[in-house]
Structure formats: structure tokens, C-alpha cells
């Protein structure tokens, strides 16, 4: 009896004294951070480089002493452009690998697939890609553009004199939530500007579609009704390569029918002969061709990293684009928030993220909004050059605040300006 009692007391004491040791070990070991991007499948063309820039940023932070004195340890998974697999991998990262934060997703369908997982397990996701808005989760920080920071200014430019004074619009996209919602917003916007229904043509293709002959023929026909026509493309993934190739082969010039793309940047144009595409447009919050000291440093860092790590394509021809810049900003802001909160706990970091600022490669001081989990971002419109880079032909004077609940969708005026869990 006595022995049992003393044994129990001894083990309890040991457990109690060991407990803080366990905690201290967790507080001083490396911080695990997750990277959730498609490394194969139709979206790999866009997402693989985001994984690489994330790893580069982690290396940069580790070389400068880490976060709270602790090293960042990346955990990279490949959800292979498979939307249900995104949710599985997200759950794996949060429950098995116990990462403090996840940087990932590109397509809105992948984000919508992982959202319930992050809200259930109270994880933290940084989403670096332009999207359709209509979402504001407390577990996500959106470092990409909302429609009022990309789509609306782009269409306003197309309707201006410099943009060609377009009167007829072709809304062409891949068939999933982002293009459908964006086109809904754009239709309402165009209607508010007095464009009749007959002057809008909407067209969708499945993921991975590669035969754009008949669509381009229809665009040509639609464009010959006597009014200036433009195409607004929300095509995502490697379908862009055959689309632009077909545009070039069929001789549809930017001076006749300009194509403004929202998901095509320097990386997507890599495999395309851009000489017949000169003058076609893209709208982003960053272009590699922007002249600023911050951008020079950023592109040089990336070029050196790509060469050192032998990254295919980038080791010979390094390219940076908007989602890469957004990933870079997001990771640095998270680091700053963790250091401000002195903890990696999601609830504390969430509060500390409010109002964070960072000197971005776009040349502006980017701020995370106090309330709505979105960045204030500048808008740039670029025309394709023969060498695959973009000429900036229009830009905002400074960063503009995001409006994730677009005023062009009914009922959005009643939505709160702070994040709510989605059902």
C-alpha cells in the first residue's frame, strides 16, 4: 500500500515536472509550415512555382534567424489538381503534421474544398491568388485580388479610350465557380454601365480543354457586328497554352479584338510563342517588369534561388508573377504577426495580422486590412510584349481596399465587413 502510494506520488510528480519540459520542447523546436499546391495535373503549370517561392521565402527567413528564434520547417504535399484530394491533404497537414499555417490553393474550387477543413480544425490558410470574392472566412487570409482590385478596373480600362472603347464583351472562362461568379459580377457591372444583354457573350470550357478552334471562330463572328469587341478570359490552368496558340495561329490581333486575361501571367505564357500575341492584356497587382528597387531585389533573389536549386525553366529564364509576390508578402506578414503575437496559435496570430504592412516588390507599402482579412492592393494593367513580359499601360495611384462582397451581387450590402465562418 505504501509503495503503491509512493509510486503513484512519484509518477505524478515526474509527470508534472516533465509536462513543462514537453511544452518547452514544442516551443523551441522548428515550426512546421504547410505548402498545399498542385505539383501535377492541369494546374501544375501555375502552382508549382508557388511551392518553390514559398520554399525560397522560408529559407530567407531561416537565414535571418527564423521566427521567434525557431526554424521554419516546410511540409510540402501534392494534391495533384484533384479538388477532393486538396481537402484530404489539408486535413493531413493540420492533424498529422500539425502545421502552424498553410500556404496554398489556386483555383477557387480547391479553396472551397479545403475551407470546411480549416474552419473545423481552426487552421490558418494564406490564399495568394486573385479570386471572385463572395467569401470572408476567419481562417483564411486572402493575399490575392478581390474583383474590385482586378476584374472591375480591367473592364473599366477596356471601356476607356485607351483600352479600345469596347462595346461588346465575350466572357470566356473555365467551367467552375471562379469564372461563373466573376462573370455574374461583370454582367451586373456592364448592365450598370448600359451595355445591353445582346452585347455580352458567355462561354465556358472544361478544365484541360485544348481545342479552341470553334470558340475562336464564334468570337470572330461575334466581333464583326460593327461594334468594338473585347474578350475577358478567366481560363485557368494549362488550357491557356492551346488557347493562346490558337489565337496566334488564327491571326486574332490585339488591335482588333483585345483579350484581357485574369489568370494568365508571365509563367503561363512561358510555353507560348508571344510574337503574334503582342498587345493582348492581363490585369494583376504586380508584374515582373515593374521598375522598383524592391522588385529588383525580389527578382534577383528568385533568379539566384532558381539557379541554385536547379528549378526547371526558371534556372535558365527566371520569371516572377503576381501570385508569387502574394505568396512572398503573405509569408512575411505571417512571420511579422507571429512575432507580434509571440505565438503561433491561430487565434493570436489572427488578431496580430490586422493592419500588418510590408514593403512589397510592386513598389508599394501593402497593408492587411484591419477587418476583412484582405490586402489593400494596387492594380496594374499590362500588355503582352514579344518577349513574354508585360508592359504596364495603366495603374492605380496606390493600393485600394478590397471589397470581397461585391456591390454588384444582390444582397451583398447586408453582409458584414468582418469574417464569419461559412455555415
Amino acid at each position: 500500500m505504501k509503495r503503491r502510494e509512493s509510486l503513484k506520488l512519484l509518477s505524478a510528480a515526474t509527470a508534472l515536472t516533465a509536462f513543462p519540459f514537453v511544452n518547452v520542447r514544442a516551443q523551441s523546436g522548428p515550426i512546421k509550415v504547410g505548402v498545399l499546391h498542385s505539383l501535377s495535373g492541369t494546374m501544375a503549370i501555375s502552382e508549382t512555382v508557388l511551392k518553390d517561392i514559398a520554399l525560397m521565402t522560408f529559407d530567407e527567413i531561416n537565414a535571418a534567424g527564423g521566427v521567434l528564434g525557431r526554424r521554419l520547417e516546410p511540409v510540402v504535399v501534392d494534391p495533384a489538381s484533384n479538388w477532393p484530394l486538396f481537402a484530404e491533404r489539408a486535413r493531413q497537414l493540420l492533424t498529422q503534421d500539425k502545421v502552424a499555417v498553410v500556404f496554398g490553393c489556386w483555383t477557387s474550387v480547391s479553396r472551397k474544398s479545403v475551407l470546411p477543413v480549416f474552419e473545423e480544425l481552426n487552421g490558418l490558410l494564406f490564399y495568394p491568388v486573385q479570386y471572385e470574392g463572395e467569401e470572408m472566412s476567419p481562417n483564411v487570409f486572402y493575399t490575392g485580388a478581390a474583383p474590385n482590385q482586378q476584374a472591375i478596373p480591367a473592364v473599366e480600362y477596356l471601356m476607356s479610350e485607351d483600352g479600345g472603347a469596347a462595346k461588346r464583351f465575350v466572357l470566356l472562362g473555365t467551367d467552375y465557380v471562379y469564372p461563373r461568379t466573376t462573370n455574374k459580377i461583370l454582367r451586373a457591372f456592364l448592365k450598370s454601365k448600359g451595355i445591353p444583354e445582346a452585347d455580352i457573350m458567355e462561354e465556358y470550357t472544361p478544365f484541360g480543354h485544348s481545342d479552341y478552334q470553334s470558340i475562336i471562330a464564334r468570337i470572330k463572328r461575334f466581333a464583326s457586328a460593327g461594334k468594338k469587341t473585347c474578350v475577358i478570359s478567366t481560363i485557368n490552368g494549362d488550357s491557356n497554352v492551346p488557347f493562346y496558340r490558337e489565337l496566334g495561329n488564327q491571326g486574332l490581333k490585339a488591335t482588333d479584338v483585345p483579350v484581357m486575361a485574369f489568370s494568365v501571367g508571365e509563367e503561363e505564357l512561358r510555353g507560348v510563342d508571344t510574337r503574334p500575341l503582342v498587345g493582348h492584356l492581363a490585369a494583376w497587382n504586380y508584374f515582373m517588369s515593374i521598375k522598383s528597387p524592391a522588385n529588383d531585389a525580389f527578382t534577383k533573389k528568385w533568379a539566384d534561388y532558381a539557379k541554385a536549386k536547379n528549378i526547371p525553366g526558371h534556372r535558365d529564364r527566371p520569371l516572377t508573377n503576381d501570385p508569387m509576390e502574394a505568396t512572398y508578402i503573405g509569408i512575411h506578414m505571417w512571420k511579422q504577426a507571429v512575432e507580434k503575437a509571440k505565438s503561433t496559435e491561430v487565434d493570436k496570430v489572427r488578431v496580430a495580422m490586422r493592419g500588418q504592412t510590408f514593403k512589397a516588390p510592386s513598389g508599394f507599402d501593402i497593408k492587411m486590412d484591419e477587418k476583412n482579412h484582405h490586402l489593400h492592393k494596387p492594380v496594374f494593367i499590362g500588355e503582352v510584349r514579344a518577349d513574354g513580359q508585360f508592359n504596364v499601360v495603366w495603374k492605380t495611384k496606390g493600393p485600394i481596399r478590397a471589397q470581397p462582397w461585391s456591390p454588384f451581387i444582390e444582397g451583398n450590402d447586408k453582409k458584414p465587413d468582418t469574417p464569419q465562418k461559412s455555415a
Binding site: 505539383l39 501535377s40 495535373g41 492541369t42 501544375a44 503549370i45 508549382t48 501534392d78 479610350e161 485607351d162 483600352g163 479600345g164 472603347a165 467551367d175 462561354e203 465556358y204 470550357t205 472544361p206 484541360g208 480543354h209 485544348s210 481545342d211 478552334q213 470553334s214 470558340i215 471562330a217 464564334r218 470572330k220 463572328r221 466581333a223 464583326s224 457586328a225 460593327g226 468594338k228 494549362d238 497554352v241 492551346p242 496558340r245 490558337e246 496566334g248 495561329n249 488564327q250 491571326g251 490585339a254 488591335t255 482588333d256 483585345p258 512561358r270 510555353g271 510563342d273 503574334p276 503582342v278 498587345g279 492584356l281 526547371p312 500588355e383 510584349r385 514579344a386 508592359n391 499601360v393
Partner: protein
Amino acid sequence: MMRWWLGLRRLGARMAVLVCGYWLAANAHALTLPEALALASGDTATRLQTLEALVARDDARAAALIRALAQEAVWVRDDAQVLIEQDGQVRDAVSGEPASLDGASPATINNRLRAALQRALAALDLFDADPHRVTQAALRLRDALLRNPDAALAPVLEQALTVQRTQPLLPRAQTALRQAQAVLWLGSDDPTQRRAAAETLAGWSDSAVRAALAARLEDEADPAVAQALRVALTSVERALLRAQVAGQLFTGLSLGSILLLAALGLAITYGLMGVINMAHGELIMVGAYATYVVQGVFRQHLPQWFDWYLLAALPVAFVTAAGVGALMERGVIRWLYGRPLETLLATWGLSLILMQAVRSVFGAQNVAVEAPQWLSGGLTVLGNLVLPWNRIAIIAFAALVLAAVALIVHRTRLGLFVRGVTQNRPIAACMGVNTARVDTYAFALGSGVAGLAGVALSQVGNVGPDLGQGYIVDSFMVVVLGGVGQLAGTVYAALGLGLVNKFIEGWAGAVLAKIAVLVLIIVVIQKRPQGLFALRGRVA
């Protein structure tokens, strides 16, 4: 819209003055630095104004600057010097002296400037000595006027038609200039001119012509002119319909030829041999990657022959895919003859192995296969229809491959043995045919044809480890629909599916077209399970 016209009218008037000045050899003042800077930089409105002013002068330096800016070969150094690239040499735009590019940044243009520059150049080139350049300029100016008619350019066109030239106008240039004139005459006050315009414009199948004629018909008061317009409109609409139908036929044929190439190999292995090969798509992928490797070799070691790498890729892809197919047959499939479900599973496993092998060697992302120069661009027929060269080449290639396969199957000993072994294996063995070897050769042939399909697909789609997954279902659909046992069924099924798919896509969109085609096949197979063109009698 009115503002746009007015701006262009002023530009046209300036161009008219230029033309007269050009030929009266007026003594105009030369390009100055502030003017060059105003054209090369600043806001678009000022640059357009400067362009108008410069176009009105007879100044070789101004013309050279305009030409260089249109080709985006202009640089500005510290707001003090403007440099252009002319005939491969960098010069100062104002003085013409050779200069260097150090410290100079490129002058950029946007679409609005680009369009204005191209119009200005077209008007200048109308009086060039080279007749081909004149033709190109005439066509460009005609199309630009069709979209934005500007009556001030009428004297320029008249001058271009009547001026004395060292080399006479090509007939194409003459037609283009008369059509451009007709576009402008549509808005003239003289009814005879309007009538002549209607007659000239008839038969020019461009949708913008239809729009212009229809718009004119709405406001037309003179009955004779209205009648001429109506006649012209009907003929233009008929020409447009012809072009549209031709276009749809071509796209259907193009898709059909791609389906045919993909399914032909399967027609041999499944149709003739009865082997369900789920790795068929991966054999196509192997052919596409073989093309990528050959492209890399040519780029590294034979850059001057780069444009012909495709021709070298054909035998390489055939042999590689045939080799992989022979290995598959010898290693796995020969043990499973007569057991279709096991073959299906085993070949599906082989497809996964092949995909992962390619991912491990080449990476999981797509690889870039560049189209050679002679396959870029398109052929313009029937006025406005552009047929891309790469698709024309694929149609021709599919026909060649079909002919070759038909020849092999029906005219050679190997083909005879394959048909014999397929129809009655025991008797063929009794006759002394080495059935095992014939099986391997036949499977290798089918796989090799799949490799050739991969070469073709590398030119129109993306090349990645998942390339085969997109074509396996389509290939089986074609073979099953066409009927097993013979090649003719495959041909009809492939072409038919391509045409039907593109026809439905024409009015219902790509997603619905795919669904509709699948439903169609289900219905046909329900009614006729053996396919459209099945062999009558016993099939082994």
C-alpha cells in the same frame, strides 16, 4: 463613337495632305527632338496628336520614327535623345547618326497607339516600290476602314489606284483598294457611287461587311440603291454561310483526324487482336515525350535544322512506342490472352507505371514542345476563314498513317498473318504461323501508331504525364462505335464523332457537346452493340 470618328477623320485629312505633298515634293521641315519625344513618350492623346502632325509631313526621318515605333524599336535616353533601330543599326531619330543604347529605356506603346501607327504605316506603304508591301498595306487599310470608315482617306485611295508606279499594282492590291473605296462610298451623297459601292462589296465574305451593308440599308432612301444593297447583302450572307460551314467542317475534320490517329492503334490491338489495352493513352504520351526529347536534341546539337525536328521525331516516336508496346506484350499481355478482365486490370496497372516513370524522369509538370516555323500561322481562304497550318498538317498526316496501316494490314505478309491469327488462331498455328511472334509484332504496330499520334498531339495540346488520360476514353469510344474487326469502321466513327462534336459545340458550347456525344454513343451502342460497321459472321 463620334469622337473616335472625328479623330480618325483628322488623321485621314492629314494623310491626304501627306500624299499630295509626297508627290509635289514640298519642302517640309525636318523632325525635331521635342516632336520625337512627344511621340515616344507621354500620354496617349498627345502622342496621337503628334502622330497626326508627323504623318502630314514629307519627312523621311519622321516616317522612319513612325515605322520603328510600330515595331517597338524606339528608345529614349534621359529625355534628351530618342533612338530608333533602322535596318539593324541603332541611330538617333533626329539626326540619323549611329548611336549606342547605353542608359536608354525602351519606349512603350499601347493598343490604341498601335492601331493608329499601323494605319499610318499602311497609308505610307501604299506608295512603296515593292508590290507585295503595297498589297499588304492595301489589305490592312481596307480592313481598318471597314471597321472605322473615314471619308478623308478617299483621295489617298484614289491616288494609290491611279499613280504611276515602277512595278504595277498586283490584282489583289487593286481589289483591296477598290473594296476600301467602296466602303467609303457607302456613306457618300451620290447615289450612283453608293450603288457602285454595293456592287463592289457583294461577295466579300467578312461579317463586318454584312454589318456595314445592313446599317446602310436601314437609312437608305433611294430605291435603286436599296435594291442593290439588298442583292449585295444576300450574296455576302451566302458567302458568310459558306465560310461558316466550311469552317465547321474543317474543325470537325481536324478533331476527327486527331481522334482517328489516337484510335487507330487501338483499332489494331483491340479491334484486330481483342486486347483491351488501358495503357493505350500512355503509349500516345510516350510518343509525345519522344518528340520532346528529339526537340531537345535538335536544339542542343543541330540548331540550324531545328524546324525539321518533327520529321526526325516521327520514326523515333514510332520505334519508342513500338518498343514499349512489344515489352508490354511479351512481359504481361501474352500470359493473359483470352482473359479480357485480367488484361484490363493488368494494362491499367501498366498505365500507372508508365505515367509515374515519365513523372520521375521528366518531372510532373507539362513540358514545352515548340511548333516549328512552317507550322505556325494559318491559311486564309474564303475571305475571312483562317485554317491553321498545324491542323492541316495533322489531317494530311492522319490520312497518310491510315493509308500506311491499311497497306500493312491488307497487303503484307505480316498483315495477312495478323488477320489469320485473329480470325482463327489454331488453324493459323497449324499452317505454320508463329502466333506468339505475330502477336508481338501486331501489338508493336498498334503501339507504334499510338506513338505517331503522340507526335501529332504534341503540336496541338499540352504534353504532360496526364496526356494519355484525356484520350483513352475517346479512343475506346471510337473503336467501339466503329465496330471491331476492321479499320473502315474506325475511320467513319472518328470522323463522325469529330464532326458531330464540333457541330454541337457550335451552338451549345464545349461542355454540352461532350455530354451530348457520350449520350449519342450510348444510344447507338444500345441499338447496335456490335458497332456501326461490324464484321458479319464469326469474330474470334
